[in-house]
């Protein structure tokens, strides 16, 4: 420690402290910088750290979707429409009456009910479909480039049915679709958020830093934009986009345009912080040190906000994920054959699924909930840790 006072002939040269547990050591954060402190604080929040891991996991699932999915997302099998989920068992009876280790799922017995116009599935306990890791299945190109056919998990005979999460009305494997959907759903909002971020920070900074008439004008713009209902905007914009574009790029562009209108929340927040900070002594100090306005904004004020902004961004991603599902409902979001969680949910958005194939509803909802929860807890943790110099 740096000596501040002259040494005293005293028994107490400083406040009395002791470690939390007997024999523990006292960690010092004296020399740590902002990010180190944020990291320390963040990782103390176990929930947030766990949420961070889940997010990472989801992105990994998205990244290796082709490999992780047992099948292709749009491959349909006529005879397996609305097939219920199977369970994985590890031991199968042998011919001799004993049991052997053989990971497998059970096959189906299928009947058609013409009156009710449906197939009924009964799990056939006698029909063993062996499954395994790193099995050969339908061919794919990893990231659209590397041709492969190995899948993490799948039936040894790829013609056999394996629907661990059940299948949908066209007999497509829900698990595979969910995995492919992860890629789209987890990534599509990021660009929109990035645009919102730039606009929000720039407008917020200008408004908050300069104040006066600039602020008034920007405030009016923000007011107009934020009072605009989003649904008409989405509908209008989605319908105005040229049709020859692929569904994915259409959605991409819509996201982009809407993010042009979604920056107001961030701008408001940044403005508020600028308002508070521009009166702070250290900003005055920077001004007196001869810094020009741009330097003050970007070198002195913005760094104080980065962690907050990061937290806001993290919290904006789940909003985009939820928005995507709503948009799919309205029919202006992603559309088949693109697979996203919103598309899956839209498929499940009918009484038929609720009543007879609840797995179509449960799993995609669970995916959305998991992602949104993780992002929220992660963002909350980040926000709590964002200002290591408070309190």
């Amino acid at each position: 420690m740096l000596a501040d006072s002259r040494p005293l002939p005293s028994i107490d040269a400083g406040p009395a402290i002791s470690p939390l547990k007997p024999g523990g050591s006292i960690t010092s954060e004296a020399a740590a910088g902002q990010w180190t402190l944020i990291r320390h604080r963040f990782f103390r929040n176990k929930v947030a750290a766990f949420a961070g891991c889940v997010i990472l996991l989801l992105y990994l699932v998205g990244a290796f979707a082709e490999f992780l999915a047992p099948g292709l997302p749009n491959a349909s099998r006529p005879q397996y429409t609305f097939a219920p989920p199977q369970r994985i068992s590890f031991f199968a009876p042998t011919a001799g009456g004993g049991h052997e280790f053989l990971p497998h799922v059970k096959g189906y017995r299928i009947e058609i009910e013409p009156q009710a116009l449906r197939r009924t599935f009964v799990i056939d306990e006698n029909k063993v479909i062996p499954i395994g890791f790193f099995v050969d299945g339908p061919a794919y190109r990893l990231w659209g480039m590397i041709p492969m056919k190995t899948h993490l998990l799948g039936p040894l005979d790829s013609r056999e049915p394996m629907y661990l999460l059940g299948s949908d009305r066209l007999g497509r494997d829900l698990l595979s679709r969910l995995i492919y959907g992860t890629r789209i759903s987890m990534s599509i909002g990021l660009v929109g958020v990035a645009i919102s971020l730039t606009l929000g920070v720039v407008f917020g900074a200008i408004s908050g830093f300069y104040g006066g008439w600039v602020d008034t004008v920007i405030q009016r713009i923000i007011e107009i934009v934020s009072a605009m209902p989003t649904i008409p905007l989405w509908l209008g914009l989605a319908a105005a986009i040229p049709l020859t574009w692929s569904p994915l790029s259409v959605y991409f562009v819509v996201t982009l345009i809407v993010s042009l209108l979604g920056w107001t929340g961030l701008a408001r927040e940044v403005r508020g912080r600028f308002f508070a900070l521009r009166g702070e002594d250290f900003v005055t100090a920077a001004r007196l040190d001869g810094s020009r306005e741009r330097r003050i904004i970007f070198r002195h004020i913005l760094p104080s906000l980065t962690s907050h902004i990061l937290a806001v961004v993290t919290l904006a991603v789940p909003t985009m994920i939820v928005a995507e599902t709503s948009l799919s409902f309205l029919g202006v979001g992603l559309k088949p054959p693109v697979v996203s969680w919103g598309v899956l949910l839209q498929d499940a958005q009918n009484v038929r699924s609720v009543a007879t194939a609840p797995w179509l509803l449960i799993w995609p909802s669970l995916a959305v909930v998991t992602a949104v929860l993780s992002f929220n807890f992660f963002g909350d943790g980040l926000r709590d840790a964002a200002d290591p110099y408070e309190s």
Binding site: M228, I231, V322, T325, F329, L330, Q349, L361, V368, V372
Partner: protein
């Protein structure tokens, strides 16, 4: 205070103008016009019109005019006669349609607003006072789940549950037999039996945000010296918290009033569609899809006005609640 309100109202004028422009632009964005969707409906009915007829209809509806002329006609109608135009689709003056839906919209908005408050207030207080406790985490978790589960899925599932296990009439706010019955106890009970689903759905999505805001604000306030002062007076803990910090942390609740109406009209449109609620949202969506432009434009404009007025009201309410604002 009066000067403040007047200034705020004056500020609203350019904002409203900007909004009316954007509102009109939005409804012009999609290709085609009302006649397009009309023709598609008619084609479904087996009617086919030739081009001359279509052109004649278009001029009858005033759709052959340039966009800015249409806008001017609309906006002058509003400004000079309070006439918001005519709904092509419903064959009614726009104002009639909007008012027709406003009653139920208000009813549902207020009911869900109170429900959101009733749920989030105690939970928010609990979470702030017992920060990082198990209960706090559990409620936060539940709140987020409410935020994350897509509304339309929740609504549909609840409706199915209502049908399957309670044998309930689903959708809307009345069973058919009460729809045109005079008000009675039975009708009121019937309404309650319909309202639980929309209220749960709307409250689920709304409470999480409220709880979080209240929790954050209250946590800040709890450490203020005046709370210690209140304790030092010998007040019991619940009184200390309820009378002082909660009162101040309530400000965001008041602020939320301003957003409730526009939110309900636009934000929970999807819920309203799925649940068949007679609120403004589904009507707006239909108007947009059907390109019933005066209805859609007026709706958007009205929502803008509601937002602005709501914000003004909540600011005034804040001033009433918080003498610091009032006196400055």
């Amino acid at each position: 205070m009066l000067a403040y309100i007047i200034r705020r109202v004056l500020y609203m004028v350019p904002t409203l103008f900007g909004m009316s422009l954007i509102a009109f632009m939005i409804i012009q964005l999609p290709p085609g016009d009302y006649l397009t969707s009309l023709l598609s409906t008619m084609a479904d009915g087996g009617q086919n019109l030739d081009e001359a007829t279509i052109a004649r209809l278009r001029s009858q509806y005033g759709l052959d005019q340039p966009v800015y002329v249409q806008y001017l006609v609309w906006i002058t109608g509003i400004l000079t006669r309070g006439d918001f135009g005519y709904s092509f689709e419903w064959n009614q003056p726009v104002s009639t349609l909007i008012w027709e839906r406003m009653g139920s919209t208000l009813l549902i908005s207020l009911a869900s607003l109170f429900l959101v408050w009733a749920i989030s207030l105690p939970i928010g207080i609990y979470s702030a006072v017992r920060r990082h406790s198990f209960g706090d985490h559990a409620f936060t978790f539940l709140g987020f789940i409410g935020l994350a589960v897509p509304n339309f899925i929740l609504a549909l599932t609840l409706m199915y549950v209502g049908y399957r296990f309670f044998g309930q009439s689903v959708g809307g706010i009345f069973s058919p037999q009460y729809a045109d019955a005079p008000w009675s106890m039975a009708k009121f009970l019937d309404m309650l039996s319909h309202m639980w689903i929309p209220l749960i759905v709307i409250a689920m999505s709304g409470t999480a945000a409220m709880i979080r805001v209240l929790r954050a604000n209250l946590s800040d306030e709890l450490s203020r010296p005046y709370v210690v002062t209140a304790r030092a007076k010998g007040l019991p803990e619940y009184k200390v918290i309820l009378k002082y910090p909660v009162r101040i942390a309530l400000n965001p609740f008041v602020s939320s009033i301003g957003w409730v109406l526009p939110d309900l009209v636009s934000g929970v449109t999807i819920t309203a569609i799925v649940l068949n609620l007679p609120t403004a949202g589904p009507l707006l969506l239909r108007a947009l899809v059907g390109q019933d432009m005066y209805l859609a434009g007026s709706f958007i404009l009205l929502m803008g006005v509601l937002t602005l007025v709501g914000m003004l009201i909540s600011d005034i309410l804040l001033a009433v609640l918080d003498p610091r604002i009032r006196f400055n």
